[in-house]
């Protein structure tokens, strides 16, 4: 499927279009710089539809320009009564039949791509990874079924492999979108579980968004997809499985922080192991690209987030001022020390100046 559509790109018009569009946006964020199976397939489909549409637009505009230039009433012509044409059968048939043909040209790859992206034939095969994705107000939970790994905000996948996602929501409808690798799919509450797959071609950290209005912090519900080589992925799985939540941190402040964390935060959160349920699992927290999906990882930001979560992400579930600022500082020291796996740390995060 991708074969014949890919060939189209070498054609002149497509080449020009591709050049033009891929100038838009930033690597690993933009849907116009495809880096995965799904996004590339969809990019080709977009190119076909844009090419057809530009063809139609040029014809319409040519007639339009001609009519407006040629048939304006000039001074002294006010009395002229033009011929009252009823219509023209041949013309009308032409502009009915040609659009139908053009739409068929578009409909065939559309249907092919729609079925291609809904394909689940290999999901049950041995060694194929399926991740359970749960959308929550306002964070993402990723459970690796069978591996006893639960994490949040950062989805690790191996490159060049299909990773299936079984998706649902714990509260309202969210939508999981990683434009640079694949399209999006809604996460619904209740029984309506959806499945899609990701396949990234290159290692990298890809930006993910929530694309369905889910409350005040809808626009702050970012996540990352971290695509690493299959070997590194194995390493990551190994590291994550071996997290010891009881491990004693190094500094005294962090040790106090651990104590505070266990007393105040563990009812919702967890570190390592299976999913915590209410709040995100904070395994490998110290290595995350962002705090709460949006803040730069610094102690200062983390304290701010712990003490005043509502000011960072309005409407989120974490209670404000559960601990004092001083206590939060210690908890932050502890959490930032949680560096269980350094897989993916060498990948550059895309953030380019405008």
């Amino acid at each position: 499927m991708r074969g014949w559509m890919g060939k189209f790109r070498s054609l002149f018009l497509f080449g020009a279009l591709t050049m033009l569009l891929t100038g838009c946006g930033i690597e690993n964020i933009s849907a116009l710089k495809p880096k995965g199976y799904g996004s590339e397939l969809l990019f080709d489909l977009m190119l076909i539809s844009i090419a057809i549409m530009i063809f139609v637009f040029v014809i319409v505009m040519a007639i339009y320009a001609f009519v407006l230039l040629r048939y304006r009433e000039k001074k002294g012509q006010e009395h002229i009564v033009p011929k009252q044409t009823e219509g023209n059968k041949a013309l009308e048939v032409i502009w009915t039949v040609i659009p139908i043909i053009l739409l068929l040209v578009l409909a065939i790859p559309t249907v092919q791509a729609t079925f291609d992206l809904a394909d689940q034939s290999t999901q049950e095969d041995e060694g194929v990874i399926t991740v359970d994705v749960t959308g929550n107000q306002y964070w993402w939970q990723f459970d690796y079924s069978g591996e006893e790994i639960s994490t949040s905000q950062e989805l690790y996948i191996p490159t060049n492999e299909r990773v299936y996602l079984n998706m649902k929501s714990s509260d309202v409808i969210h939508s999981f979108w990683v434009p640079a690798i694949a399209g999006k799919m809604d996460t619904n509450p209740g029984e309506n579980m959806n499945t899609m797959y990701l396949e990234a071609y290159e290692e990298g950290v890809y930006e993910g968004f929530c694309a369905e209005l889910c409350g005040p912090s809808h626009s702050l519900m970012y996540f990352k997809v971290v695509a690493v080589s299959p070997d590194e992925y194995e390493q990551w799985v190994e590291d994550m499985k071996n997290i010891d939540p009881e491990a004693t941190p190094e500094t005294a402040s962090a040790q106090e922080g651990q104590e505070l964390f266990n007393n105040n935060c563990m009812s919702c959160h967890a570190i390592g192991g299976a999913s915590a349920g209410v709040g995100p699992n904070l395994g490998n927290f110290g290595n995350r690209e962002k705090i709460a999906g949006i803040l730069e990882p610094s102690k200062e930001n983390l304290v701010e987030w712990i003490v005043h979560p509502d000011e960072v992400k309005p409407g989120n579930q974490m209670p404000s001022e559960l601990v004092t600022e001083e206590e939060a500082g210690k908890i932050a020291d502890y959490l930032l020390e949680l560096q269980h796996s350094d897989v993916g740390q060498d990948l550059p995060v895309q953030s380019v100046e405008e």
Partner: protein
């Protein structure tokens, strides 16, 4: 319920006249003023949204308020601005175009307006009572069912009341067009604006009940403890999406089709040519209306309906491009070989063609179900539907207002100011929305309160905001034009454009009985037919005689007022059962008014032949 036809009246009498009127021309004024005000409110909300998105991480308004803004902007523009402005045109023009003296049910016509107005007021009261609805104009469950406060309750009650008004209006125009055409005005001689009103009314009749049902379920979930959309109790949240879009997609065609009709009339008038391919245009209008019901799930490609449903809805959606394309080409060929006169009305219409074509093209792109996995719920969609709704509906409204303003008010809107308003709006529109297609694909989802630094979205957003200010400037110039025209411009004849259809055969503004004698229609573009035969006006189809007209009534106002009061009762009885008093009081007013209407005979009144002869002496009979 007095007749109230005195000539010189004070302000109080004028207000009373408008409160009680059942005259379609005055109801058109009411729709125009109310719709215009809501358009300005919705525009203000849009400006606030654009200011918030001017730069990355902006903090102009809070996240919660932002969600209220986008919700109210969408809801206001669709239900409270575009719909009533279209109803204003339909009321002002359709009875005149078919040679009728009023609509089929003048009382219901008034009721429809007051229901819409009170529903609209109810929605906007929410700003002052603790927060507007904040779950998007689509109001998806369960975000809407768990939304705290009463915002969504206002959405439910407000839309339920104004929706009932729209439904009544639709039925009224359907019956009017079926029953009240002048002799000789066969279906295939109706002007395109009347045809599109006919098709639109059919769509209203079948689409609005889906919204009504959805809103009732939502109302029971939020106010009376049911669980239709609560998955925890065995409900299903997706049902709301289906109900909403079964209504919502035809709604898009309800908005655009009347303007397609208006453009057809305008292109034909200002090219001095009959509409090219009239029967194809009628057929295309009907086909668009029919297909409009088959495609609702294309708003839901990412919900997880599976590839079979997605493919079917994708192909069905693409099919709509065919009749729409037929229309575009027929308009172009209407102008082909004509004598194009570039009035303000024509300028807006001519600008509509490329703008709407772009909107239609992105529509076909969105129809490609798989590709929609990238477009869906991003600024690409925002760009697309503004190209259709602003580039189609709003351009159409401006064109129609310029075109029919003299018929409604007897004065032509100043042409210089008209063109001066057009250019900033037109340029601003393309600046605002074209770039949004790219923003969406570069990774900007829809309904985002902030976007982050370093995502590459800042340049596009500042361009978009700048464009929005230009659109606001254009709108302000148009308003200045309205005031300037009403103060400075002179009265014009009943036929300032060299019109082709029946409304131009009578004075501007028309006498309240419209036609002294019902005209005889001898072909498509009846007035043009007579002009080509060298006649001054229409040939009457009946001798001069008494005219039967309906009486004015305050009851439509009180019926609507009662529902407005009851609405508050329904919303607040959740907090405090004493509010049930408001429910009972409001319903008593409504049902009492309905009972009065049923029991009291109101046979209307006659305008006698002698009065008509007086009027004719004053020159009323001719345009």
């Amino acid at each position: 319920m007095s007749t109230a036809v005195a000539q010189k009246r004070g302000l109080g009498a004028v207000i009373w006249d408008y409160l009680t009127t059942v005259d379609h021309k005055k109801i058109a004024h009411l729709y125009l003023v109310a719709g215009g005000l809501f358009f300005l409110i919705g525009g203000l909300e849009a400006m606030i949204i654009r200011i918030q998105l001017m730069k990355p991480d902006n903090n102009f308004i809070s996240a919660g308020l932002y969600n209220e803004m986008i919700t109210m902007h969408g809801t206001t523009m669709i239900f409270l601005a575009a719909m009533p402005l279209i109803f204003a045109l339909m009321n002002a023009v359709v009875p005149l175009q078919i040679g009728a003296r009023d609509v089929a049910f003048p009382f219901l016509n008034s009721l429809g307006f007051w229901l819409f107005l009170f529903g609209g007021l109810m929605l906007n009261v929410s700003w002052f009572t603790g927060g507007a609805p904040d779950a998007g104009w689509t109001n998806y469950a369960p975000l809407s069912t768990i939304s705290p406060g009463h915002g969504v309750d206002y959405y439910v009650m407000g839309l339920q009341i104004s929706g009932a008004g729209t439904l009544i209006g639709g039925i009224n125009f359907l019956v009017t067009i079926v029953n009240m055409r002048a002799p000789g005005m066969t279906y295939m001689r109706m002007p395109l604006f009347t045809w599109s009103t006919f098709v639109t009314s059919t769509l209203i009749l079948f689409a609005f009940p889906a919204l009504t049902v959805g809103l009732f379920l939502m109302m029971f979930d939020r106010m009376f403890g049911s669980a239709f959309f609560d998955v925890g109790l065995g409900g299903n949240a997706i049902i709301w999406e289906h109900l909403f879009w079964i209504f919502g997609h035809p709604e898009v065609y309800i908005l655009i089709l009347p303007l397609f009709g208006a453009f057809s009339d305008i292109f034909s008038t200002f090219s001095k040519k009959r509409l090219f391919g009239y029967s194809a245009m009628v057929f295309a209008t009907v086909l668009i209306g029919f297909l409009g019901f088959m495609v609702w799930a294309h708003h839901m490609f990412t919900v997880g309906m599976g590839p079979i449903a997605n493919s079917i809805f994708a192909v069905a959606t693409m099919a709509i491009a065919v009749p729409t394309g037929i229309k575009i080409f027929n308009w172009l060929f209407t102008m082909w070989g004509g004598q194009i006169k570039m009035t303000s009305a024509m300028l807006w219409s001519v600008a509509f063609i490329p703008s709407f074509t772009i909107g239609g093209m992105t529509g076909v792109m969105l129809a490609a179900a798989a590709a929609d996995y990238q477009y869906h719920d991003t600024y690409f969609v925002v760009g697309h539907f503004h190209y259709v709704i602003v580039g189609g509906v709003v351009f159409g409204l401006f064109a129609s207002l310029h075109y029919w303003w003299p018929k409604m008010f007897g004065k032509v809107l100043n042409e210089k100011l008209g063109k001066l308003a057009f250019w900033p709006f037109f340029i601003g529109f393309h600046l605002t929305f074209f770039i949004q297609h790219f923003l969406g694909l570069m990774g900007m989802p829809r309904r985002y309160w902030v976007f982050q630094e370093g995502q590459g979205l800042a340049t596009g957003n500042i361009i978009s905001t700048a464009g929005a200010f230009l659109m606001a400037l254009g709108t302000i110039i148009f308003l200045i034009n309205v005031i300037y025209t009403s103060v400075k411009e002179k009265k014009v004849s009943g036929d300032p454009w060299g019109g082709r259809t029946l409304e131009w055969s009578i004075p501007s503004p028309p006498p309240h009985y419209n036609f002294v004698q019902t005209p005889l229609v001898r072909g498509l573009d009846p007035l043009w037919v007579e002009k080509m035969d060298g006649k001054e006006g229409m040939t009457p189809a009946e001798p001069l005689g008494d005219i039967h007209m309906p009486n004015a009534s305050i009851l439509p106002f009180t019926i609507s007022l009662g529902l407005f009061i009851a609405g508050f009762g329904f919303i607040y009885q959740v907090d405090d059962p004493t509010w049930l008093i408001a429910v009972f009081a409001g319903m008593a007013i409504t049902l009492g008014s309905m009972l009065t209407r049923s029991l009291k005979d109101d046979l209307g009144h006659h305008i006698h032949k002698e009065e008509l002869e007086e009027d004719i002496k004053k020159g009323v009979g001719k345009s």
